[in-house]
Every structure is written in structure tokens, then in C-alpha cells.
């Protein structure tokens, strides 16, 4: 599906990503974790093609993304960035329809099936009643959902979410994560998320990729990656890890004084 192979990237002389490799299969939910500045957002920008790789390759379905047009890439990869910049004066429905742009020619404003797909994305994210509401009037969490609905309407094989739960309360975190899980299972979508909440990542993701200084420090099942040693080393802190009674998933407590 998506294969990231020994990529490197530097801002000027500062190496942000070095020799980073991992792969994800169809239908997998992956969390990329690591401390601030470890290269998560840069990695996403590289996958989306907004930065050029200095070395290595990223391939989707065995095709190098560097050789794809913006349009081709937008039909395979969707991204919800961390800092959302909602366009002023637009409604939720109008925003979600923008997700259909990769499939529309210059003179098309949307075929009936495009509206249907947009509507299904709204239904999935629970925003059906918000169709005509201006984005400016939504709460942070609702706005986040609107952008996720737009990405769902893009109907891509790979979905990148940068800190999707950052603005959400406990209940909405769970609702969003189950939506993500369901999407990946139903449509065989590969979902890659940058996450700070390790317990949440452990609970919902199939696989974790832990970054340190721009390369992969540990990778695999949550219980394998989220060990006390790994976390203490990567985050430079002191934690305690316990395991949930249901599913034996790691729960992380920060005990640094």
C-alpha cells in the first residue's frame, strides 16, 4: 500500500528526517508518536508532497508519489492538517463538497453522486444537521469533524490525520476514533495519525511508529512499542505503564515530578 523507504529531509542544514522507513497495509490504523519536533508534521508534509525529499522514496501502490500529478495524488491521499484554517463565510456543506475537487473538471461544480458522497461523509461524522451552518459558528471539535468529513468525501485509500483528537473531549475522542476504525475496516482505508495521547493511540491503533530525532525508534504493536524504557528514552521523562483489563492495552501515567 504505502511504503516509506529510507527518506531524508533537511530544512537548510538542519536534518529533520533521517533514514526513516516504514510501511502500512490497506485497512491499517497507524499512530505516529514521538515528542514535539521529532518530525511528525514534516513526515506528513513529505507524504503529501508539499516538501521535496532529499533522499529515499515514498510509494503508494508501488508508484512513486514524486511522479504523480497533484490531482493523481489527491485521489489517493487525503490529509487533515493540525492547524485548521477554516475559510471565512463558508458553510459545512460547502466545505465538505470541496473534498470532491480531485474528481471534478474545471467546469464541473459537482455531479449528483458527488453530492451523495459528501452527504454520506456528513452523516458519518454526525454533521448532517449542520450542512448550512457557517464554519465560523462551530465549536473547535465540530470544525475538526467538518474537516474530517471533507477528507472522507475525498474517498482516498490513505488518510493522514495530524493530531485529530487534540480539540476533542473524552466522549468525542472515542466517537472519532471509532469512526476512524470503522472507516478503515469498511473501505480498507489506511489511516496514519500523528498522536500525542499514547493511551488513546494504544487503545485504538493496530500499529505504532515511534519517532525520535527524525527516524524510527520503535515500531509494532502498541504493547511492544509502549514500554517504560522506550517512552522514558524517547520523551525524556519518567512514566509508569499499566495494562487495561480489557484487551491488555498499555495505559501510560507520567510520574515525573
Amino acid at each position: 500500500m504505502i511504503k516509506i523507504d529510507a527518506i531524508e529531509f533537511a530544512y537548510g542544514k538542519q536534518h529533520v528526517i533521517r533514514d526513516l522507513s516504514f510501511a502500512a497495509d490497506a485497512g491499517e490504523v497507524i499512530a505516529v508518536v514521538g515528542p514535539n519536533g521529532c518530525g511528525k508534521t514534516t513526515l506528513f508534509n513529505l507524504i503529501m508532497g508539499s516538501h521535496k525529499l532529499s533522499k529515499g522514496t515514498i510509494t503508494v501502490n508501488n508508484k512513486n508519489i514524486d511522479e504523480m500529478s497533484a490531482r493523481e495524488r489527491s485521489q489517493l491521499l487525503a490529509c487533515v492538517p493540525q492547524n485548521l484554517d477554516p475559510p471565512e463565510g463558508f458553510t459545512v456543506g460547502e466545505l465538505v463538497m470541496m473534498g470532491r475537487n480531485p474528481y471534478l473538471s474545471l467546469i464541473e461544480w459537482g455531479k449528483p453522486e458527488d453530492f451523495l458522497i459528501a452527504e454520506k461523509a456528513l452523516l458519518k461524522t454526525g454533521l448532517t444537521e449542520y450542512i448550512d451552518r457557517p464554519l465560523d459558528y462551530l465549536s473547535g471539535g465540530e470544525r475538526q469533524s467538518a474537516f474530517i468529513a471533507m477528507a472522507l468525501a475525498q474517498e482516498t485509500q490513505i488518510l493522514l490525520l495530524d493530531e485529530p483528537t487534540a480539540n476533542l473531549d473524552l466522549r468525542n475522542q472515542a466517537i472519532l476514533m471509532s469512526l476512524i476504525k470503522e472507516t478503515s475496516r469498511q473501505n480498507q482505508t489506511t489511516i496514519i495519525m500523528a498522536m500525542h495521547d499514547l493511551t488513546l493511540a494504544a487503545q485504538w491503533c493496530d500499529k505504532l511508529v515511534m519517532l525520535l530525532n527524525g527516524s524510527v525508534y520503535a515500531e509494532g504493536l502498541p504493547e511492544i512499542v509502549l514500554t517504560v524504557d522506550n517512552i522514558n528514552k524517547v520523551y525524556d521523562t519518567i512514566v509508569e505503564v499499566q495494562y487495561s483489563t480489557e484487551g491488555n492495552r498499555p495505559i501510560i501515567f507520567n510520574i515525573e515530578k
Partner: protein
């Protein structure tokens, strides 16, 4: 907020939104009818009042070509056909042009205050046109094209300059762009004045042209202007959906498959061509590009698929009425139309400045 994943709810959005073409088309038709009514009423009013019934009869006979009553005074017909009709139509086209390019500039720069006048595009076009005026080249050289082409070059140069001055680390703030535009505008204005002082004392045509206005408009102006403004205006309407996507930030728009740089360049070129052609025939008139699009925003929201065509229609109506004001407020003299547009436009500018929600950059 509840995520409802059950899928047997009735899907109504698709039905509702399938009709977006129809809704927009209906608004455009209604808008055009209103503009036609404004044109006819504006034709009746002036230094010489012509009864509405005569105006209507003349329109139907002369323009549509159906014979109805023909007992109007000959002088009325002459005033309408030779003076007022071309003037009003030219004002309408220029208003539509300035307003649609205002909407396009606002979309590309993601800046609600962008207006051909405020970002320097109009003054740049003015300078380009003034150079042609003063070099004594025949104005109708290149099939009437010299003036618009010179204005176009000036307009593009000014917008590009303002853009690069206002840009800071790849970001461009709302206020910096306007400040840069004002600086470029002043510079272009100063050069224009300098050129005037250094040249022939017989400057009356240039002076009155620089003040902006439509007195002395002829049918030939309308016919020369139309082929310059109509194709890029249609282009802007076609690009209106992409203007929507450009309202996301550039990186995000790119992930939706938009070639951001190419799209922005095309829209800027089209908007500048429209502005330049309008300025070449009317002089520099401010604020039309601000009033038109913002009235549309207040009524119908920010969707550019409505905003672009409806801005053109509202801009046309606004400038026809402003020109009517310029003609009749101080009879027998005429005011420069720019005074009227500034009178309405400046408070608008202040209103937008005070209510804009996103203090971008600096």
C-alpha cells in the same frame, strides 16, 4: 455533537444541492432584469427629463426592433441613443468589471479588503494608459487595443509589485497587502502627475479621464471594451469553484489536487486584464470592487460560485446608479463619479476593516 453512523436516514442534501446551477442561474436572471430596469430609469433622468414611457418606447423600437408608438420628440431619441444609452451601458460594463475583479483579488489573496483600486492595480493601469495618452500615439492603434494593452501591462506590474512588497516569508497579511498597494498606487499616481507636468499643456482630455467618469462615452467605446472584458469575466466565473478551494490554505488546497500557483496566476491575469480594460475606458474609479462583492457576501454568503457572477451584476448596478448621481446631483455641472463611489465605498471599507474575523499576518 453526536456522530450518527446509522445510514438509513433520508439523504436530502444531494437533492437540495443538485439544484445549485438552477439557483445561481435564477439569481443571475433576476439580477439582469433589475439591471435592465435600472438602466431604463437612469436613462430617463438627467439634465433633460425624458418621460419613462418615451424611454421605454425608444428602447423597444430602436434596440429590440419592435414597432410601437413613435410620437416621441426627436431630441429625446437623440439624447438617449447617442448620449445616455452608451454612457449607461459603459458604466454598467465597467462596474461589472471592477466588481468581478475585486471578488477575484479577494479570493486569490484571501483578503476581504482587496480591490483593484486599493491594491494598486487600477493606478498601475492608469499609469500605463497615461503613458499612451502623453506619447501622442494614436489611441485607436492596434484596432483600439493600444490603450487596454498598455493599461494591462501597468496593472499587472502594479499588482506584482504590491504582492512582492507585501509578502513576508511566504505569508501576506491583510493590512500589509493593502499598505503595499497604497504605496504602489501613490507611486504610480506620482509618476502619472510628473508625466503630465512635463508634457504638453493641453491636458484637458487626460485630466478629465484621470478623474474617472463616463461623460462623452460613445458606442464605439462599448464595442471596443466588450471583447476585452467579456472573455476573462467568463473565465473568472468558470474558475469560481476553484476560488472556493483556494480559501483553504495553500498546502491544504494542494492536497485537494489544485495546482495552486498556476490557478492563482490565471485568476490574477484575468482579473488584471478586466481591471485594466475598464480603467482604460473610464479612468480610475475606486471602491466598486469592494462594495459589489461584499454586498453579495452579506446577502448570499461567501461561496464564490455565487459571489463571482453576482458581484458583476451588483457592481454594474452600483456604478450605473453612482454615475446617475454624478450626472444629476449638481446639474448643470457633473461630479466625478469617483466621489460618489468613494462616498459609499469608504464607510464600507471601514466596516469590513472593523468586522474582519481573521487578523492575518502582522
Amino acid at each position: 455533537m453526536v456522530y450518527d453512523t446509522c445510514s438509513n436516514q433520508k439523504l436530502s442534501y444531494s437533492n437540495k444541492n443538485r439544484t445549485i446551477y438552477i439557483r445561481i442561474a435564477r439569481r443571475i436572471v433576476v439580477g439582469l432584469v433589475v439591471i435592465l430596469a435600472i438602466c431604463i430609469i437612469a436613462s430617463s433622468i438627467g439634465a433633460v427629463y425624458i418621460p419613462l414611457s418615451d424611454t421605454l418606447a425608444i428602447v423597444i423600437n430602436k434596440i429590440i426592433g419592435i414597432k410601437v408608438k413613435t410620437n416621441w420628440p426627436e431630441v429625446s431619441e437623440s439624447i438617449l441613443v447617442n448620449l445616455r444609452f452608451p454612457r449607461i451601458i459603459l458604466a454598467g460594463i465597467v462596474g461589472a468589471a471592477l466588481s468581478i475583479s475585486g471578488a477575484a483579488y479577494q479570493g486569490v489573496f484571501r483578503n476581504p479588503l482587496a480591490d483593484p483600486y486599493l491594491i494598486g492595480s487600477a493606478s498601475g493601469a492608469g499609469l500605463g494608459a497615461a503613458i499612451v495618452f502623453l506619447t501622442g500615439l494614436p489611441l485607436l492603434a492596434l484596432g483600439g487595443g493600444l490603450l487596454p494593452v498598455a493599461a494591462f501591462v501597468g496593472s499587472i506590474a502594479a499588482v506584482t509589485l504590491a504582492y512582492f512588497i507585501g509578502r513576508c516569508q511566504g505569508q501576506i497579511g491583510i493590512s500589509t497587502l493593502i499598505l503595499a498597494g497604497v504605496a504602489v498606487s501613490s507611486l504610480a499616481g506620482a509618476i502619472t502627475s510628473l508625466l503630465m507636468i512635463k508634457s504638453d499643456p493641453n491636458l484637458r482630455p487626460l485630466m478629465s479621464w484621470l478623474l474617472g467618469g463616463f461623460s462623452g462615452s460613445r458606442w464605439v467605446d462599448v464595442f471596443i471594451l466588450l471583447p476585452y472584458v467579456l472573455p476573462p469575466m467568463i473565465g473568472l466565473v468558470i474558475y469560481s469553484r476553484l476560488l472556493n478551494v483556494l480559501q483553504l490554505n495553500d498546502l491544504h488546497a494542494q492536497t485537494l489536487g489544485v495546482n495552486v500557483n498556476r490557478t492563482k496566476t490565471i485568476i490574477l491575469l484575468a482579473a488584471s486584464l478586466v481591471t485594466a480594460s475598464a480603467v482604460a475606458f473610464s479612468g480610475v474609479i475606486g471602491f466598486v470592487g469592494l462594495v459589489g462583492p461584499h454586498v453579495v457576501r452579506l446577502i448570499w454568503g461567501s461561496d464564490y460560485r455565487h459571489l463571482v457572477p453576482m458581484s458583476a451584476i451588483l457592481g454594474a448596478g452600483f456604478l450605473i446608479l453612482a454615475d446617475l448621481g454624478a450626472r444629476v446631483i449638481a446639474i448643470p455641472t457633473e461630479l466625478p463619479v469617483g466621489i460618489i463611489t468613494a462616498f459609499f465605498g469608504a464607510p464600507f471599507f471601514i466596516y469590513i476593516l472593523k468586522t474582519k474575523k481573521r487578523p492575518q499576518g502582522n
